[in-house]
Amino acid sequence: MRKNIVLCGVGGQGTVLASRLISAAAMAKGLPVMSAETIGMAQRGGSVFSHLRLGDNVYSPMIARGEADLILGFEPGEAVRMLPYLKPGGQVVVSNRAVMPVTASLSGAAYRAEDMLSFLRDHVERLMVVDAERALAEVGSSKVLNLILLGAALESGALGLTEEDLRNAILEKIPEKFHALNLKALEWAKQEE
């Protein structure tokens, strides 16, 4: 199996942990893993990404345009920004909730999540939009968007991993007191079918 996955969002949304969980799950299956991500100044509210490459014969941790099997968008505008990386027929899983940049609040030129989502609908065949507001309310925490999106990616079938793989990664990588909450978030997408 070879998978190229792009995770993208805004600094502070939890993309790094999601990337770590996928990596741990893939490694547990014996798959070689390479990844690269934004660290440093951009983490303070800037656009951030992780590139994840699972499988053999990979030289570079970076993904090229048109090469991603899956884009996991934590924010609709950021998913659009990364769209050139999607391969033809690739899957996009995206949160419907926009994070407004401070610049937009200042100028009054707030951008609309709906514009981004409709662009995605027009250009992506395999698109799954997650109702983040409702999901977070139902799970009961504002901090688990990453696990909700991972669960949705599982449902989409594009992740190449099973729920069992990710459950084990959660148990291994996340402190015990957060296990129940994170597992609940991971399972949220299932009951949406």
Binding site: V10, G40, G46, P61, R65, P101, K143
Partner: protein, 597 residues
């Protein structure tokens, strides 16, 4: 041996431990920081590790350890090498006994740096060999080889990863602790003919170094990190660092052209380069930052009368600045090889939100900047910024950073401006870690030379931008000790600054009043804004907007630019996921509509 999923920087740290490193020191700087942090986490009992106060001190520590026969690693980012240049240059002339590896992480882009300087060029300038890894695995292997090389040739040796190598993750093969080399330092042995640098000794050593480096060119031609990968055709490619992996990925689609992988670019492996060039008509160099391979190969062509044409940055075939990408490298290779590229079918994107990095919601720096801004309203001012999270104070609407040069530079700039223009109220802002690293000489200079300016110390009790490292003011060391804190206020008073006041920036009215009063004093004076970094501190609560009271004036949004604040349906809205209850917005709301912490 076992396999482990490691960041490049973690791999480097484990490689150093495997090589039997005895002492590790450095100063935090993206993208180098995790090397030392990993050593601290994974070290065995006998390994000494510290965050030094700055890179110069760290380099001197590492030099001292190497004098005593220890294996020493010193870590920094490329800007840090400028700070450490003085001891490094001298160490290069004096030489070492134990292995000394200088880990300096370069930052093409730049992604989080002031310059795009290339440490390969610095290595040539300092005459010390440099290893340039292309992956986490190679970085792990190289640092072990670098220690041996340093000891064998009695010289400091550079290991120079770039951001994508330092911060890329891979599962790699690493040694088990039982397989680690054990190095027991002999201790310092007196020999003033060796360890005391004098002009005569420098002259003699200079001759030796040039002779050694000429020989090393041959040695390195047989080094496995430098390699020719064969391929058909008369057009070849030379590549180094992460760019080598981009070329390898492109070869899948473009075919196996002859490839020269340069893992040790200084001293340049001339013999191997000559072998590579003979039989080739043209060579494209794929590298980041300076055209080091391009210049070296051009030199080899001239020296040996080869007709091969060398292309790269100098000839406009690859970009002069910025980070390489897989797509960019593939496009340059396609053009060079004359292979038509498939049309990019990606749709044109709609206008996307611009997201410059901002101070976190509730960041005390925001409150500090805002207090100074309010206190100095209507006056002729200069606000000299510095390097750290607080550089982000330049963003609208705060707009409180008029200059930013390098660590500690704001103090010098503020003093000079006041000497030339007495009517300008001059301020220098500096963080707590930066204060210890590079601001103290600036304060001494100001007091001695009768400068007139206000020093603002933004003390959030951590080195925040690089990921919260301890420093002398935190009272914690990387060896896990709790020690006496070095007091910023005490240091300032000791230097002779008469007025030093400490205030909580989240108390807005008191902060404004303090800045007004202190800055009106003559000479050098200081305000220390003390409030912990919000990433580390427990949230104090959460503010909410009373929608009935909010008059929609947008003052909160217009004045402080907090990312938790936005505007919807004519009213201010606070994002509960981001707000930490700093209460600054509540203190400035004219309608009293923002409630609670």
């Amino acid at each position: 041996m076992h396999r482990e999923f490691l960041m490049g920087n973690e791999a480097i740290a484990l490689g150093a431990l495997a090589a039997g490193v005895n002492l590790v020191c450095g100063y935090p700087g993206t993208p180098s920081t995790e090397v030392l942090e990993t050593v601290a986490k994974r070290r065995s009992e006998g390994v000494y590790v510290e965050w030094s106060v700055n890179e110069k001190t760290a380099m001197e520590m590492a030099g001292g350890a190497a004098y005593a026969g220890a294996r020493a690693l010193v870590t920094m980012k490329q800007m840090g090498l400028n700070v450490a240049a003085d001891p490094l240059m001298c160490l290069s002339y004096i030489g070492v006994k134990g292995g000394l590896v200088v880990l300096v992480a370069d930052d093409p882009g730049p992604i989080s740096s002031q310059t795009e300087q290339d440490s390969r060029t610095f290595a040539a300038f300092s005459k010390a060999p440099l290893f340039d890894p292309s992956s986490a695995q190679e970085a792990y292997d190289m640092i072990q080889a670098a220690f041996d090389f340093s000891e064998a040739h009695q010289t400091p040796v550079f290991l120079r990863p770039t951001t994508r190598v330092s911060h890329g993750y891979a599962d790699i093969r690493v040694k088990d602790p039982e397989e680690y080399t054990v190095n027991t330092p002999e201790g310092f042995v007196k020999d003033s003919s060796r360890w005391v640098i004098f002009p005569r000794l420098s002259y003699q050593n200079h001759i030796k170094i040039e002779k050694r480096n000429a020989l090393l060119q041959d040695t390195l031609s047989d080094c496995p990190f430098n390699q020719i990968l064969p391929g058909p055709g008369r057009k070849g490619v030379a590549a180094s660092g992460i760019s080598y992996t981009y070329v390898m990925e492109a070869r899948r689609q473009l075919g196996d052209m002859p490839l020269f992988k340069v893992g040790v670019p200084f001293p340049f492996p001339e013999k191997l380069a000559k072998d590579f060039l003979s039989g080739l008509d043209e060579v494209l160099c794929v590298e980041e930052l300076d055209p080091v391979l391009e210049r070296s190969l051009t030199y080899v062509c001239g020296k040996y009368g080869l007709k091969t044409k060398i292309y790269g940055k100098l000839t406009g075939h690859t970009p002069a600045a910025g980070e390489n990408t897989r797509d960019g490298v593939k496009a340059a290779l396609s053009a060079f090889l004359g292979i038509p590229q498939a049309q990019d079918t990606a749709p044109a994107l709609p206008p996307l939100p611009v997201r410059p990095p901002v101070l976190c919601a509730g960041c005390p720096h925001r409150a500090s900047f805002y207090a100074v801004k309010q206190a100095m309203k209507g006056q002729k001012t200069i606000f000299c910024g510095d390097i750290g999270c607080y550089t982000l104070g330049n963003a609208q609407p705060l707009d409180m950073v008029d200059t930013c040069l390098c660590m500690g530079a704001g103090l010098g700039i503020a003093q000079a401006v006041n000497h030339l223009d007495k009517d300008t109220r001059c301020f220098a802002f500096v963080g707590d870690s930066t204060f210890f690293a590079s601001a103290i000489p600036g304060v001494v200079n100001a007091v001695y030379n009768q400068a007139e300016f206000t020093l603002i110390v933004l003390d959030n009790s951590t080195t925040a931008m690089t990921g919260h490292q301890p420093h002398p003011g935190t009272g914690k060391t990387m060896m896990g000790e709790i020690v006496e804190k070095v007091s910023i206020e005490g240091v300032l008073r000791g230097i002779g600054v008469q007025t030093v006041e400490t205030v909580d920036p989240l108390n807005h009215a008191l902060s404004v009043e303090t800045v007004k009063r202190v800055s009106a004093q003559p000479g050098v004076k200081a305000v220390i804004f003390k409030s912990p970094c919000v990433v580390l501190a427990k949230p104090q609560g959460r503010a909410t907007v009373d929608q009935a009271k909010c008059v929609g004036c947008k003052k909160c949004i217009r004045e402080i630019g907090c990312p938790a604040l936005s505007f919807a349906d004519g009213k201010a809205v606070i994002d509960p996921g981001q707000c930490v209850g700093c209460s600054l917005c509540g203190q400035l709301c004219p309608a009293g509509a923002i409630l609670g912490r």
